[in-house]
Amino acid sequence: MAINFPFKRTLTFSIIGLVGFSLSGCVSGTESDSVTSPADGVGISNGATVTVYTGRHYGIEPIFERFTTETGIEVRFTTGNDPELRERLIAEGANTPADVIMTGDAANIELAADAGILATVDSDILMQTIPAELRGASDNWFALSQRARVVIASKERVANPPTTYAAVGNSEWKGKLCLRPSTHPYTQSLVASLIIAEGEERATAIVQSWVDNDPLYINSDTDIYKAIAAGECDVAIANTYYLGRLLTEDPEFPVGIVWPEQDSRGAHVNVSTAAVTANAPNPEGALALIEWLATDGQQQFADANFEYPVDPNLEPSQIVSGFGEFTADLVAVRQLGANQPAAVRVLSFTRYE
């Protein structure tokens, strides 16, 4: 009896906890919070501090510091992986201390939007600065920079590199191809963009042709660039900003960028994003930060990581401008999240590592 009593109590307690969790999960999911630009005087519990969960952490601190200097608003942030930060936000629900969530790719912010943890924002500044394709469908997230995922090739050994993603599967690149494993969101988003543009069947055939080329899978874009430089492979698919970093160290780095799909939809771009959370304790501060990142902080935010600004009126940094002009596949950006499960399916069926 004495054995059973605390056991039962704890079990009941945990069941109450579980039920409580799922109930309140429903509640926060149906809330349609809305944030408007002029502060409407809602009590700000954290004074003038904005709390940020950020999946993008490379070079982020100096940017936040400048924001604080210019606006007087303090930024408190924690870093992590996109999906885990999203899970944390979902679990916390109404209790979350986070005002802003920032991610390194579009699919993860879309999944957060689906989970009902993002607030719809009404901001003239953001509407004017950020093109419609680079915002959430209901203005619940905003891209802050663009990251192009392109074909890269050895400048020394490759005369005619592939100019489409499909051509990477040509048999001439058999044993000479490097790719990032399918565990990484960059790979998943790229395949999602293929599905959006060409349909699942055709996308499967393209991915299959890559796999048939017996690629060397390397779970790091930087190391993929280095593998080409070292002669381990000739052709690969990677993000451009890593080349920006490598060129800073070695201006003669022997790997070049090929802009793919320039005669059709344009090169695949993903975005780093920010959103106001549905239960933000300080929604005004959150919006102030995002608006600043899209305007005054925009150049620094994009340049810090050699990315492309979302504001079409701004030029990328000098090194990045050196990569040349290109057409980007902006249409796909909003649909990347919805197509990610299909992308994972395609990657599984083709035995892409």
Binding site: A2, I3, P6, F7, T10, L11, S14, I16, G17, L18, G20, F21, S24, T51, H57, Y58, I60, E61, R76, F77, T78, T79, G80, N81, P83, E84, E87, R88, A91, E92, G93, A94, N95, P97, D114, P181, S182, T183, P185, Q188, L216, Y217, I218, N219, S220, D221, T222, D223, A227, A230, E232, Y242, Q340, P341, V344, R345, S348, F349, R351, E353
Partner: protein, 547 residues
């Protein structure tokens, strides 16, 4: 004590003849302890129950798809990796422990300490060092193989077996070996027939820990493109956002782990090897001439390849990072990261040790609850870190929602919440170490103490724990090292303003900035070596006190 020792015989049956008269008090106390243990066990298993809940409604579609695509490969690679690493660590750990314990050769004492250092190097750090080093001679493609992955895991994990084996050899008495020798056994035969079988429970405990580490590893296997079940859990979860299907895969992983624990119990067998009286330790044999040279070369060669070369590589990177000013951190300086790490490790390790002791000493082994409660409480070790983290997150958030805590207090993102999740994940390390050591204390010694009037807990505190002392200290050091290098749970649940050294490593490696990761990696290894030193010092001291 001396009376107890003379009363003791080496094979103690349950000493049940003399029950104290205060049986009612004892019973009530025993109930309240069982209640306490139940609460602890259940509180620690809630995060896993939350995750396992999904099994009630299986995601049939996802499973069919997985079965048709990646699942068979995942199971195959997990099984192969597990087999390779278990055999590798068992052979390597036992052999090196025996070399250090049984033979006298130049540098033996220092080497005994140094051979544990690979434990202080996180697998993913050792992995990227080896990939970078071997990519040149072997080729980038060849270097990413399950064989090299198994080798790297064997190197980082063999110290578990080594430590347990050394403790076991140290706790053994020369008397048994002498007896065997007097009955005509050669030294070699005595090792196989006496020393090794008596060390079996400890070896099994060490190997079981290795098995759990392999099953739940994500950082290292991903470096080598090895697709295990743990990797699959995150693949499904983060790739498709399907938490239920991912959770079901995690339950499969728990199933494999339970199988492993079952095999461990089988390996321990029904045998219960206890020591009779004072542990004099085994006599070391002086080696001379060429044999001494061989032993020296073996020991130092192992250390050089397993630890010295990778550490040298990290040092060169750290120097490069210093000279190119790439030592910046996301927030706070070096000292800040160090203090965060130490703070978390100290508190979480103490919590693990305290609860581990409770679980090992308190449950009445004659009752079913005595055996299944600790198993329930320590299941977290069979679950990958990120899964434990999300389970704990959901649990803590549910409590926060109840609003029982004072206004403004939240468990999610609190120091307490982080410690709770770490205990869920790592209690097994402390518990297994403590339990294996206590199991070796002869029940007849304990019974003697009881006959002389000591209560159950007094007997535990005055007799069992001191006799198991070395093992208890070893267990706490092990759990501290594990927590010190832990990443996924800390990453998800850490409070604002707490950034540990592994988080710093992650900041750099997630952007492939290996050079920048060198400084915090070296710091992890250095502090880990200090913990290892403390551990071995205590072990030796424990042995001296016992004799």
């Amino acid at each position: 004590m001396s009376t107890a020792i003379t009363l003791a015989d080496s094979d103690g049956g349950e000493f049940g003849a003399a029950r104290p008269a205060r049986v009612i008090v004892q019973k009530a106390r025993s109930w309240s302890v069982t209640a306490l243990v139940s609460v602890v066990a259940i509180a620690l298993s809630v995060p896993l129950i939350v995750i396992a809940w999904s099994v009630i409604e299986p995601s049939t579609e996802v499973w069919q798809e997985l079965w048709a695509t990646r699942l068979p490969g995942m199971i195959g690679e997990t099984a192969l990796l597990l087999f390779l690493v278990l055999v590798g660590t068992l052979v390597l750990g036992t052999a090196l422990a025996w070399l250090i314990t049984a033979y006298q050769f130049p540098g033996r004492r220092v080497l005994g300490w140094l051979l544990v250092t690979p434990l202080a190097i996180p697998g993913y750090v050792l992995g990227f060092v080896w990939i970078d080093t071997l990519a040149g001679p072997l080729g980038a493609r060849e270097v990413r193989s399950i064989w090299l992955c198994a080798l790297v895991l064997t190197i980082t994990l063999y110290p578990y077996v080594y430590l347990f084996a050394r403790a076991a050899f140290r706790e053994q008495s020369q008397r048994a070996v002498d007896a065997a020798r007097s009955l005509g056994c050669s030294n070699k035969k005595a090792f196989w027939r006496i020393v090794l079988p008596m060390a079996r429970p400890s070896l099994a405990a060490g190997v079981a820990l290795v098995g759990m580490e392999v099953l739940t590893d994500i950082g290292t296997v991903r470096l080598f493109n090895v697709s295990t079940i743990a990797d699959g859990v995150l693949r499904v979860w983060f790739g498709t956002g399907n938490r239920d299907a991912a959770a079901e895969l995690a339950v499969l992983l728990i199933g494999v782990a339970i199988l492993l624990i079952f095999i461990e119990r089988l390996a321990r067998g029904r045998a219960r090897f206890t020591q009779s009286g004072a542990r004099t330790g085994l006599r070391t044999q002086n080696l001379s001439g060429s044999r001494s040279a061989v032993a020296t070369a073996l020991g130092w060669g192992a250390f050089t390849i397993f630890a010295a070369l990778p550490i040298f590589r990290l040092v060169t990177w750290a120097v490069e990072a210093q000279s190119t000013n790439q030592t910046s951190t996301v927030s706070g300086d070096f000292g800040f990261h160090l203090m965060s790490s130490l703070q978390v490790t100290l508190i979480a390790a103490l919590a693990c040790l305290g609860l581990g002791l409770l679980l090992a000493v308190a449950p009445n082994r004659q009752r079913a609850s005595g055996s299944w409660l600790p198993r329930l409480a320590t299941l977290g070790y069979a679950v990958p870190g990120p899964v434990v983290a999300i389970g704990a997150l959901v649990t803590l958030a549910a409590i926060d929602r109840l609003g029982w805590l004072p206004e403004g207090w939240l468990l999610v993102g609190s120091f307490l919440g982080l410690i709770y999740a770490l205990v869920v994940r790592f209690l097994a390390v402390a518990y297994h170490g403590v339990d294996a050591s206590i199991a070796k204390v002869s029940p007849s010694i304990v019974a003697s103490a009881r006959v002389l009037g000591a209560g159950r807990y007094r007997a535990a505190a005055r007799v069992e724990l001191p006799l198991a002392g070395a093992g208890v200290i070893a267990a706490s050091a092990l759990v501290a090292i594990d927590i010190f290098k832990e990443l996924p749970i800390t990453l998800i649940l850490r409070p604002f303003g707490l950034e540990t050294l592994p988080v710093w490593v992650w900041q750099a490696t997630s952007e492939s900035l290996w050079v920048q990761a060198a400084v915090p990696s070296l710091a992890i290894v250095s502090i880990g070596m200090v913990l290892v030193a403390a551990l071995l010092w205590s072990l030796e001291r424990g042995a001296t006190v016992a004799s």
